[in-house]
Symmetry: C2
């Protein structure tokens, strides 16, 4: 029996409530497909920070490395500044393990009423491919004249040829693989003077390697508007770290799936473990009540199955999620308009698998 060792980091808040449901579903789908998942639990979180002054131990990254994948819940808690909790745990994992692709589906699901009108499941179904290790998320920069009237802060974004080309190639390969040979590039070369014209230049160069794939490029301002006005036009959208972050929240906002959207932080070469985490955060407002929607975590586990080469198992989990959502008599957590608990909904999905 094939066995996978998974690092499990529930993190903060509802991360601790939704993670067990994902593991439950993994166990069920694993049994069905004859694979076993071994879990190693790590309780690193804002609690750890409050206790020790660091989000994880000094050898934290080394201890994660030796796993087939990482399942992450949510990181962040009131009282710990976001840039400390994120740059102390989430972002170092993405970088140390060279998870240079952040992959997120934007999909209108059955049983979910989106805020936009006149759209049916099937109309909106695309992927955001976000650069995940460089660009605007950067520690380059600093402050001068602190506390004086001439105080000034510089923040430098870095775009390398290697980093830019590889994310674009991933997007083009994905478009081919999906049989939707159409890639849209998010840019802002009319306003951002150095980096975005460079982004466009590399996009044109990589596009030339894929003559069978049609391309578009939109400035991020109008692209965001088009996500709302004509989301059906997209298939694969490739974007820098910041623009991809924005688009991959906006997309699920448009489809009404922000509470259930998954993401993969992927090292496509599999030289390091990849991380799978829901798009939602730790939700301090509902944490501890057992009513968080576990679908984002479960769907993230499905993306992990795909990444591990267990595509059928992944499809089983996504199918189970869709069937449960489409079934009016299935349990629904409060965010979906029902009164079910996290465990009720997780159990229903496990049963549907």
């Amino acid at each position: 029996m094939q066995q996978y060792e998974l690092a499990v980091l529930p993190g903060d808040g509802i991360g601790n409530e939704v993670m067990p449901e994902a593991l439950r579903v993994l166990d069920v789908v694993g049994a069905k497909h004859g694979v076993r998942f071994e879990y190693r639990h790590f309780d690193w979180s804002c609690e750890t920070y409050k206790r020790t002054g660091a989000m994880m131990p000094a050898d934290g990254l080394a201890r994660l490395r030796d796993h087939d994948a990482i399942l992450l819940g949510a990181v962040g808690w009131p009282g710990v500044p976001d840039h400390i909790s994120l740059w102390g745990l989430l972002l170092p994992i993405r970088r140390e393990f060279d998870q240079y692709v952040n992959l997120r589906p934007v999909r209108l699901l059955p049983g979910v009423t989106p805020p936009v009108r006149d759209k049916q499941p099937g109309d909106i179904d695309f992927w955001v491919v976000r650069e995940n290790t460089e660009g605007e998320y950067s520690q380059l920069g600093g402050r001068q004249g602190e506390g004086t009237p001439t105080e000034m802060v510089l923040q430098t974004a870095a775009f390398t040829r290697r980093g830019t080309d590889r994310i674009m190639r991933y997007a083009f390969e994905l478009a081919r693989k999906l049989g939707k040979p159409h890639v849209t590039s998010a840019t802002k070369s009319n306003g951002i003077y150095h980096s975005m014209p460079y982004w466009d230049e590399r996009f044109a160069a990589i596009a030339a390697e894929y003559p069978d794939v049609t391309v578009d490029q939109d400035h991020i301002d109008i692209l965001c508007a088009r996500f709302v006005m004509s989301p059906e036009r997209f298939d694969v959208v490739v974007a820098s770290n910041l623009f991809g972050d924005i688009l991959s929240d906006l997309g699920p906002g448009v489809t009404g799936t922000i509470g259930v959207a998954p993401s993969g932080n992927i090292n496509p070469e599999r030289e390091c473990p990849s991380t799978f985490e829901p798009v939602h955060g730790s939700a301090p407002d509902i944490a501890g009540r057992g009513i968080a929607n576990p679908i984002g975590q479960i769907w993230s586990a499905a993306m992990m199955l795909d990444h591990l080469g267990l595509a059928e198992a992944g499809a089983d989990v996504v199918g189970a999620i869709e069937r449960v959502l489409a079934d009016p008599s299935a349990p629904r957590t409060p965010d979906l308009g029902g009164r079910a608990t996290t465990a009720d909904l997780g159990g229903a999905i496990a049963d549907a698998v």
Copy 2:
């Protein structure tokens, strides 16, 4: 009779078609309120660039300075890279004249069907206050190793205390003036390491000067999603140059008004002329056919009237736009689902004034 000298720059494409309608409406509303507008026309555009190698003459900015305001159409045309046309005309005007506020309304209008469901005129009515002279739109940076595999581009954003504080104060003052004492700050301090935590720090400091104004802050990713999911929650949103650019296209995208949205590039101290321009671009696809919607340009002229202290005249123009849009028998350009020309719609609004 009070007289104002206006610099008129139609720019490229449909800029040339919508501008005459704005001037026509200004003449009518001026006559009604006993003020006269004198127009000085400047034909600087991508044409100028193709002819002379520059978007405007070397003394262009000096020639604009001596006006009460600038009316701009649209800048940009295929064949001239955006960063050349914009950094050669639009952006230098914003900076030279210290137009540090970019102000844009997000408003659901009668007679316009938005892409979001279940919203009525009145539900969505807020302002985006965008920093307009510094931040992410910056020429700081450059490229190293051009053409080599280690090629790298750096792009530096600059946030000064002066630039940050003054845009935030403007937002708080606006919120007070509107009688909607509630300001939302767009941030990304969880990912962008230096500039955005600084932005938050200044927001907290300025908010403390306005204890009567309630505040929120949202990371730009979730904020974009909330523009779609719950746009009624916003009153005044203050944002950096890039984030404000994104939000002030996304907002009109949500209300279905992207083709008609106006903007002001404002120097609140009136030491320099302010520029008023529609949010839409030069629209090469429909340029030359006389069917562009002139409302964005006319509404921008209304914002100019406000800025010049002619608030009643400004309100007359906005009222006329709303009445014409709400009237099913009024002319409609193709973007609004009708067959009217630019001049038909401009004429109807002039008549309604």
